[in-house]
């Protein structure tokens, strides 16, 4: 079999193989059972003591969300000012400038919300200090925030009737000490031994074999590259992200980074099964999500391996597939696989440039972010999927003519309304802002405050539209990848995408946690003969159908204007 395809199958199987025991471990951590990492308990206790946390304090859904939102607000202020004044602070060997207020606004929010859209390049836009104190720090805590909110949902599902969703502080601290940090230490060391820099030295200057003088950017990158993947963050140390040969040196590190970014999202599904003692429910979710992934992945691989039809017309054979924006050491198959995984699990790191992928691949990447729940980001993936479950329960209830129930609780108007509002609001954000940007491009292309320092679009026509659509889709999904040709470091993009980022993060977290809290509060109804079984594959199909229909209805028009239109023009391309 083709070694490139074999490589992808291996990466997927390895991920699932590791995710299962990790899921079991995660469920034990949050159930408070004995685990391998109990040696961290004294560290956690001293953190609680130092910060005045009572780890056993019960929290209802409102208290839980208040604690979460408060600390997020602190991080936002902290990150904004560090980025603004980074040029005056130490650890800046390359003398990089401070960020402008609009860029610092965008960057601080972007990392706070686990998105990691970067409107700067790592080599020149941040310093070693902010790479660590802002970027690396937020990459840990934003992932832990997502996971903590998911554990609140787990707690709501586990008990028959309860107000208590767990203690935010203790779940959050344990996520860092027991899950993220151990995996990152192992991953970062493996990266360092494969050639990723980890020392604090600045740029080096060398004379090449042919006699050119060039610079080489470096820095303490390995640690950040580990958490960037483990926390499904995606923001790279270097501008070219994991396509950069120091950020992702070889095929082994490509497998490593791929597994690191996918393992927690998949493990959280299994953890759910162990935690609420209903493994079948988890298997059904895993199956639906895997089918969803394949639905996006297979067309992408096919279109990348076939190469660019326009280049084929020039007489080039493209035996190795479409190579623009790709690295030879990964090849088009592993690049296609990465581009889909990174968009469905909301990482947003890239090992090839998505702007240069084929139109159908671009559409699949967009769809991955629009659904945002096939595995999904650390914690938030299942929260998004949970909304679809609530809608599926409601529709199924209507179809059989019974009051819909989910896990022994009546799903009533209030919960369904929240689920619907969150789902429709994300589509409104993405399409509304894309429309605004398209209007600006068409009617006010010369306004200096908006378009300085560079023009917006790197590509004309349908592809240019896709660049704008991709930016807001990515911001709303908290993904962070981009059609990077977009000239996005200006007031317009920094400010508008900043708002999309923050709304696209917190509304889809608050919604599901609130629903979980409200449902858990209700009287428990024991299962009877006519109860809709939500851990059956029939119901899994129902959820899948809901996802497809909602996504298709919400996003077909912009997809038709962007990638689909480009696909058809490329087919009939003449030199």
């Amino acid at each position: 079999m083709n070694t490139e395809i074999l490589g992808i199958i291996f990466m997927f199987l390895l991920t699932v193989l590791l995710a299962y025991p990790l899921g079991k471990y995660i469920s034990k951590v949050f159930l408070g059972e004995k685990t391998l990492t109990d040696f961290m308990a004294p560290v956690e206790r001293s953190i609680y003591r130092l910060c005045g946390i009572d780890p056993n304090e019960a929290m209802d859904w409102k208290q839980f969300l208040k604690a979460m939102l408060t600390i997020n607000l602190v991080w936002l202020v902290y990150a904004f000012f560090l980025l603004l004044y980074q040029d005056k602070l130490p650890l800046n060997p390359d003398s990089n400038p401070g960020q402008t207020p609009d860029l610092a606004f965008n960057t601080a929010i972007s990392f706070l919300v686990n998105c990691d859209l970067q409107h700067y390049s790592g080599e020149s836009g941040v310093t070693y200090l902010t790479q660590l104190l802002v970027v690396t720090f937020l990459q840990f805590v934003s992932a832990a925030t997502g996971i903590a909110c998911l554990v609140a949902l787990f707690n709501g599902l586990k008990e028959k009737t309860t107000r208590n969703l767990g203690n935010f502080w203790s779940i959050f601290v344990k996520t860092n000490t027991r899950i993220l940090l151990p995996i990152c230490i192992a991953g970062a060391i493996l990266l360092a031994f494969n050639g990723t820099p980890a020392s604090f030295e600045g740029k080096d200057s060398i004379i090449t074999l042919q006699g050119d003088t060039v610079l080489v950017s470096r820095g303490p990158a390995a640690g950040m590259i580990a958490i960037k993947h483990v926390g499904t963050n995606g923001g790279g140390w270097f501008g070219a992200n994991s396509a950069h040969p120091l950020e992702n040196p070889n095929y082994f590190t490509n497998i490593l980074e791929m597994v690191m970014q996918m393992v927690i999202p998949v493990a959280m599904i299994f953890a759910l099964g162990f935690y609420i003692r209903n493994k079948k429910f988890a298997y059904v979710i895993f199956t639906v999500m895997t089918v969803g992934m394949l639905w996006l992945l297979i067309p992408t691989i096919v279109s990348e391996l076939n190469g660019n039809p326009a280049i084929e017309k020039m007489g080039i054979a493209q035996a190795t597939g479409a190579m623009e924006g790709k690295e030879v050491r990964f090849g088009p198959a592993a690049s296609a696989y990465w581009s889909i995984i990174t968009t469905i699990i909301s990482t947003g790191s890239v090992n090839s440039m998505h702007d240069s992928t084929m139109p159908l691949s671009g559409m699949m990447q967009l769809l991955g972010m629009m659904v945002n729940g096939f595995y999904g980001g650390c914690g938030v993936g299942i929260l998004n999927y949970y909304l679809n479950i609530i809608i599926a329960v409601f529709i199924s209830g209507l179809m059989v003519g019974r009051t819909p129930e989910f896990m022994g609780h009546k799903v009533e108007a209030r919960e369904v309304k929240i689920a619907m509002i969150v789902t429709l609001f994300t589509a409104l954000l993405t399409k509304g802002f894309t429309a605004l940007a398209a209007y600006m491009v068409a009617h006010h292309p010369d306004i200096a405050w908006a378009v300085k320092p560079s023009g917006w679009l790197n590509n004309p026509g349908f592809h240019g539209f896709s660049e704008m659509l991709y930016e807001y889709t990515s911001a709303n999904a908290n993904n962070g990848s981009g059609f990077e040709g977009l000239g996005d470091n200006n007031v317009f993009w920094n400010v508008t995408s900043g708002f999309v980022l923050i709304l696209g993060r917190f509304i889809p977290i608050i919604g599901p946690v609130a629903i979980a809290g409200m449902l858990a509060n209700k009287k428990y109804i024991p299962e009877a003969g006519g109860t809709l079984r939500t851990d059956s594959f029939t119901f899994g199909m129902m959820t899948f159908a809901v996802i497809i229909i909602v996504t298709a209805l919400s996003y077909f028009p912009p997809l038709a204007l962007g990638p689909l239109a480009e696909y058809f023009t490329l087919k009939t391309f003449e030199l």
């Binding site: 080489v216 479409a322 050491r329």
Partner: protein, 187 residues
């Protein structure tokens, strides 16, 4: 609210210390034992650093094997792809021009033989590799310029072709800088 804020500020400070100071320091210290000591591995010829092992270099002279086109001209101060879309007419004209340049420098080669990686820019702009086919297609030119037999060059390319990872996964590659260093040493 006030209690939450107090906890938030304290917890932020503690976690900054653990996650953003101690953790990167730990990795930095451990990496001193790694090849290159965590500063990036270099390639040294006659006691002189000629490049970083992971970072590709620009080769435009006929006597060297060429690497891929680069959006940053192989200056690793930064890194980027072209970000050109597949249907962009200006981009396609650039590809067409690269094909013609290649044909001029490599007489006897036909269009259909040119591997795609030689006329398309990489994602990082720093790709250190080309495909084995992309190396082979340049052998005739280098044999002529350097007056070395094609067989000898073919053997050199084969020697520098790295197969899939573990023999099973991913594509085969040729490291352009290492190949050119070996080429200079060939007499």
């Amino acid at each position: 609210m006030k209690k939450n804020l107090k906890i938030s500020i304290k917890l932020t400070l503690v976690l900054v210390l653990i996650l953003a100071v101690l953790y990167p320091l730990l990795i930095s210290i451990v990496s001193k034992a790694a090849p290159g000591g965590g500063k990036g591995e270099t390639i040294i010829v006659n006691g002189k650093v000629v490049g970083y092992e992971r970072i590709g270099q620009k080769f435009t002279e006929d006597k060297y094997f060429w690497g891929r086109p680069s959006a940053v001209d192989y200056n690793a101060a930064g890194s980027a792809g072209s970000n050109k879309g597949p249907s962009n007419a200006e981009y396609l004209a650039t590809v067409q021009a690269r094909i013609e340049t290649f044909l001029v420098h490599n007489p006897g080669v036909t269009k259909a033989q040119i591997p795609a990686d030689l006329v398309t820019a990489s994602g990082s702009g720093l790709d250190p590799h080309i495909s084995p086919e992309a190396a082979k297609i340049q052998i005739a030119r280098i044999a002529r310029v350097r007056n070395i037999s094609a067989d000898k060059l073919q053997a050199l390319v084969d020697e520098h072709t790295e197969g899939p990872y573990l023999g099973l996964f991913g594509p085969s590659t040729v490291h352009v800088l290492k190949l050119n260093v070996a080429l200079d040493e060939l007499k």
